[in-house]
């Protein structure tokens, strides 16, 4: 099963290497990892999507906790939460295809962020499923480039993943 972990870490040099190194040397699989700072510049937040059974997850969490730079870990998978991923995709778009691609963009509430002579670049945010669906919809038009940021997630309502 896939789990989504929200991990607060001290924003120290090497913290990403520590986390990534831990996953690789203990044989845990990362599906995606997104990292950036929080409202407190001393603290960064990682959203890690990891594949594994409950026992693996328990070990992942415990081993992460052993890292001195890791402050807090929340497994949001089973909790009500909002999750988003950003995708940018550059698609071949000749005259005939442009309109169709723009219609697809409309359906997925994606934005056209670049209008090239032969290509269109779309930006979309949404859940993983939505991004997957957009990708599938665009595939027939020849995707030249595609990149996803990896998932970020936040608990709904009055539950917080914060230091305090």
């Amino acid at each position: 099963m896939r789990h989504t972990l929200a991990v607060l870490v001290e924003n120290n040099p090497g913290v990403l290497a520590r986390v990534a190194g831990l996953f690789s040397r203990r044989g845990f699989n990362i599906d995606s990892l997104a990292v950036g700072r929080t409202d407190d510049p001393a603290i960064s937040r990682m959203t890690i999507v990891v594949e594994g059974d409950n026992r693996t997850l328990e070990q992942v969490t415990k081993q992460l906790h052993k890292l001195v730079d890791v402050i807090k870990i929340t497994d949001v998978t089973e909790e009500p939460h909002v999750e988003r991923e950003l995708v940018m995709v550059k698609v071949l778009a000749d005259r005939a295809a442009r309109l169709e691609i723009m219609q697809i963009a409309d359906v997925f509430r994606a934005k056209i962020v670049d209008f090239g002579p032969k290509t269109l670049t779309l930006e979309a945010t949404g859940t993983e499923e939505k991004i997957n669906a957009l990708e599938e919809a665009l595939r027939p038009y020849t995707i030249k480039e595609l990149m996803r940021t990896g998932k970020i997630a936040m608990l709904r309502g009055a539950k917080y993943t914060t230091v305090k």
């Binding site: 040099p13 090497g14 190194g21 415990k62 052993k66 001195v68 890791v70 402050i71």
Partner: protein, 553 residues
């Protein structure tokens, strides 16, 4: 007044109560050594190789319970520490390691003697720091000592670029630490403790499985009281030996791969296994599915990540072993377990640890004679291999920190520098090194350190002219196709002793050994006793790979 960061580092060491540093200087750590020149309270022990410095610091920490400090220069100096750091990490030994680094502007340019030592050591330290801001150094030092010595102890490395060492700072040693992600749990959860007491009360065949965590936490007294109160036999991991007196009736010695058959049988038959500061290492458990198959497992450990890692635990208690055992002692009621203890006694008689005394000079006999002569009142350091197993099988460790050995990493070459650290840390005690001809040759450069420091080490080399443990493995797993295990040349260890100002002996019989023991132990000064033992003696019992520990041969 402003001082250099290097001077600040020395002042931090003094404030942490460090009296001893093992190290090896070099270009990138010159300012620190320059600051040490004026330090009155810190003695520097110059080893002959940085690996020796790391191992000696580790031996010192193991023997005294204090933090070991070692330092080295950048590049090869730092990489030579790595084995010693890994060794300390695997055995949860508190070390603070200081390395010099190339100047900040050169970091990342493949400069002369540059390696990314914080990157290299990331998997084998509890934490590490590359110091870029000299003002941060005192706070980093404070954190390093705190992290190394609290919770589950371990090594911490601080990498100091040369220009950072030279910068002037206003010295201020912080009182408080800001470590939001580091909060070890010491006190066991009360309801878990109560549940444990209940499981213990309901058990009929309890066994206590005690590891190095008991020694680290200074919980030997509590362990003994606990074992006696619930009448449970105690098996030890290699790191746990000495946590309960080896000659106590409830002690079954070491379990696992080369454990006594009665120890393994007790674990395989018990209905409750109380693991205390131990981590179910593969050398202990053998085939996991066959390990303690009838038992409920209570696991007491300060590191939550150890719980449930290898075996399924019925009842976890996260906390310091001493604190948890004390809480448990208040909750448990005395028990007898008469039948169970009789059964265990029967196994002890039926399957004693023994060896074939015919046909040559037996290594087990050397260990027995040392034990008998010293009455166990010495600190024993070992290397890794057959001699190590014989040492722990036939020497009864009656007090904690009486055995200085490389457990988790299984690091050949630890013995001599480990003994050096132990002897310096405990100058009033006799330190015995039991080594093998293979291991000893790995770090015998440190004989020079031994001589320079006037350390009266009593070194016994169980010399079978080969890599005995590998040979034994090849006998069992490679159909006796012995490859790269016979030494065609071995130095004369007795003669070597003379070169380093020690007394050297070569013994080939039990009688010769017995005759010289008084001279070895009662005359001051260091000795090397080259014991030419039976070449093909095996460590027995032995659990073959993939088997359960109840199937030892």
């Amino acid at each position: 007044m402003e001082i250099t960061a290097a001077e600040a580092l020395v002042r931090c060491l003094e404030l942490e109560g460090v009296e001893l540093v093992f190290g090896y200087p070099g270009g990138a750590i010159l300012p620190v050594y320059d600051a040490l020149y004026s330090a009155k309270k810190i003695k520097h022990v110059l080893t002959r190789h940085e690996q020796g410095a790391a191992h000696a610091a580790s031996g010192y920490a193991r023997a005294t319970g204090r933090v070991g400090v070692c330092m080295a220069t950048s590049g090869p100096g730092a990489t030579n520490l790595v084995t010693g750091i890994a060794n300390a990490y695997m055995d949860s030994i508190p070390l603070v390691c200081i390395t010099g680094q190339v100047p900040t502007v050169q970091v990342g340019t493949d400069a002369f003697q540059e390696v990314d030592i914080t990157g290299i050591t990331m998997p084998i330290v509890k934490h590490n720091y590359l110091v870029k801001d000299p003002e941060q150094l005192p706070s980093i030092m404070k954190k390093a000592f705190h992290i190394a010595t609290t919770g589950r102890p371990g090594p911490v490395l601080i990498d100091l670029p040369r220009d950072v060492q030279e910068k002037k700072i206003k010295f201020n040693y912080p009182e408080k630490l800001h470590l939001p992600g580091y909060k070890p749990t010491y006190k066991g959860h009360p309801s878990q403790v109560a549940n444990a007491a209940k499981l213990i009360r309901e058990s009929r065949r309890p066994v206590i499985y005690a590891g190095g965590g008991v020694i680290n936490s200074g919980a030997s007294g509590e362990l003994l009281e606990f074992a006696e109160k619930i009448s449970a036999p105690v098996v030890n991991t290699l790191m746990g030996l000495g946590s309960i007196p080896g000659d106590h009736p409830l002690s079954l010695g070491m379990l696992g791969l080369h454990g006594a058959r009665y120890a393994n049988l007790a674990v395989s038959s018990c209905d409750l296994l109380v693991a205390v500061g131990a981590r179910f290492d593969d050398r202990v458990t053998g085939k996991l599915e066959a390990f303690a198959p009838q038992a409920n497992v209570i696991h007491i450990d300060i590191d939550p990540a150890e719980i449930g890692k290898n075996v399924i635990t019925r009842l976890p208690i996260v906390g310091d072993t001493k604190t948890v055992l004390r809480a448990l002692l208040e909750k448990v009621e005395p028990k007898e377990n008469q039948e169970w203890l009789e059964q265990v006694e029967k196994w002890k008689k039926e399957y004693p640890l023994t060896y074939n005394k015919d046909g040559g000079f037996k290594p087990q006999c050397v260990v027995e004679k040392i034990y008998q002569y010293t009455k166990g009142q010495v600190v024993v350091s070992t290397d890794v291999g057959q001699h190590q197993m014989w040492a722990v099988q036939y020497f009864k460790f009656n007090r904690p920190r009486g055995l200085i050995t490389s457990g988790g990493l299984g690091c050949m070459g630890f013995g001599l520098p480990g003994a050096i650290g132990a002897q310096i840390g405990r100058p009033d005690e006799t330190v015995v090194l039991i080594s093998g001809d293979g291991s000893f040759q790995m770090t015998m450069t440190e004989l020079a350190t031994t001589a320079e420091q006037n350390l009266p080490l009593k070194i016994f080399i169980l010399n079978n002219r080969r890599l005995g443990m590998v040979r034994q493995l090849q006998e069992f797993y490679c159909d006796k196709r012995y490859m790269a295990v016979d030494f065609q040349f071995i130095p004369d260890f007795a003669a070597l002793a003379g070169i380093y100002g020690m007394r050297g002996y070569t013994v080939t019989t039990e009688q010769q050994l017995v005759d010289i023991l008084p001279e070895i132990f009662d005359r001051p000064g260091g000795v090397i006793v080259n014991c030419l033992i039976d070449e093909e003696e095996n460590v027995m019992p032995m659990v073959l790979a993939g088997r359960g520990i109840d199937e030892s041969i």
